[in-house]
Symmetry: C2
Subunit: 206 residues, 2 copies
């Protein structure tokens, strides 16, 4: 495989997904750091070369650039046990990854970022007005995850997959800044411990 470079902000769970996937696969990954709070992913150079959408993460493979965290981990894991070989299970894995980006990340990741990294006093009026709906949406996502895990060890089939990595990234830090409280979600807590206990696991701050 061509040389792999991750364009990232280390506090981003979306970026961590890619480092965690690479760690499980034993793939070396160079890191290029940006601070999204300082606008470092909105510069003309970044927009013209790395990602016209002005976001991290972007996985660079040789001279090509792949934005979107869940697309990047799919690229890295193609052909490995992190993507189920069964047609239904592969689609069901993608189902959880699309759900993560639509129902989970915009609520859980955003509220954690606002409260733990931007700071409540620095939020705009529009952001303040959305705190309650973000919290309600995040709680609904955690409840759905907890119920899904009632008789399951992993999100898809009987093995650890990219669905678990995608959902772990922001779930395991959702209590930062008091954004969420996992006390009421014991099955989610058990699953978080299983993920963190796997051989090959790395922490978000590693």
């Amino acid at each position: 495989m061509d040389r792999l470079t991750l364009h990232e902000d280390p506090v981003s769970g979306n970026c961590y997904k890619i480092r965690l996937t690479a760690a499980h696969l034993g793939l070396p990954l160079e890191r290029k750091l940006y601070d999204i709070r300082k606008g470092e992913t909105r510069t003309p150079a970044y927009l013209s070369t790395v990602n016209a959408n002005g976001r991290v993460p972007v996985l660079q493979v040789g001279e090509r650039y792949l934005p979107e965290s869940n697309a990047a981990i799919f690229y890295l894991a193609k052909g490995s046990a992190l993507i189920p070989a069964d047609r239904w299970d592969e689609a069901d894995m993608l189902r959880w990854m699309f759900w993560e980006q639509y129902n989970h990340e915009p609520n859980i990741a955003t509220l954690r970022f606002w409260l733990a990294y931007v700071g409540r006093d620095n939020l705009s009026d529009a952001q303040h007005a959305q705190i309650d709906s973000k919290r309600a949406g995040g709680e609904a996502a955690l409840k759905l995850m907890d119920e899904h895990l009632t008789h399951r060890q992993w999100f898809v089939g009987n093995s650890f997959s990219l669905a678990d990595i995608a959902l772990y990234a922001y779930t395991h830090v959702c209590e930062e800044g008091g954004a969420f409280d996992l006390t009421g979600y014991p099955r989610v807590q058990g699953w978080l411990a299983r993920v963190a206990g796997l051989a090959g696991h790395i922490r978000i701050d590693s």
Copy 2:
């Protein structure tokens, strides 16, 4: 393949993606209709059997249920020319599909639904307060698409793929209710015409 049933609301672009993919693949699809404005996807029966997340579309395959439109079209198209065989192109296709659900749909689909189907007078205060940001986000998405299409016929590689289907679904109806105006996006307009001109194409109201 087991019998395919689409649980859907006919006005939803996310549901249309699945009908359009099935049409291109020549797959028969039974349709079970719900009105999301009447809460028909939030009934206890729906939540316990079809989708705990209370949304459409859901693709039913035999006795199994697959939510998330982009996961469902991936399942249907697996092994077909609608998913590039090349590893990079397949991941790049998923990149556009994740981008669609994160940056495109929450702005373009939501504002079109509010203005054309709920009606401006029926919106809540919280919804009214988001109209400007949804419009700005949608315009940014259309601009990014237009620039990407500068030297391209299709979103990924040199052929029509699921990325085009996922992006076509809400882009082609984005002017409904005055939500957006495609006048300033000529390359998007050209691409919409190419998609609609393909053999096997069906309309959203078919």
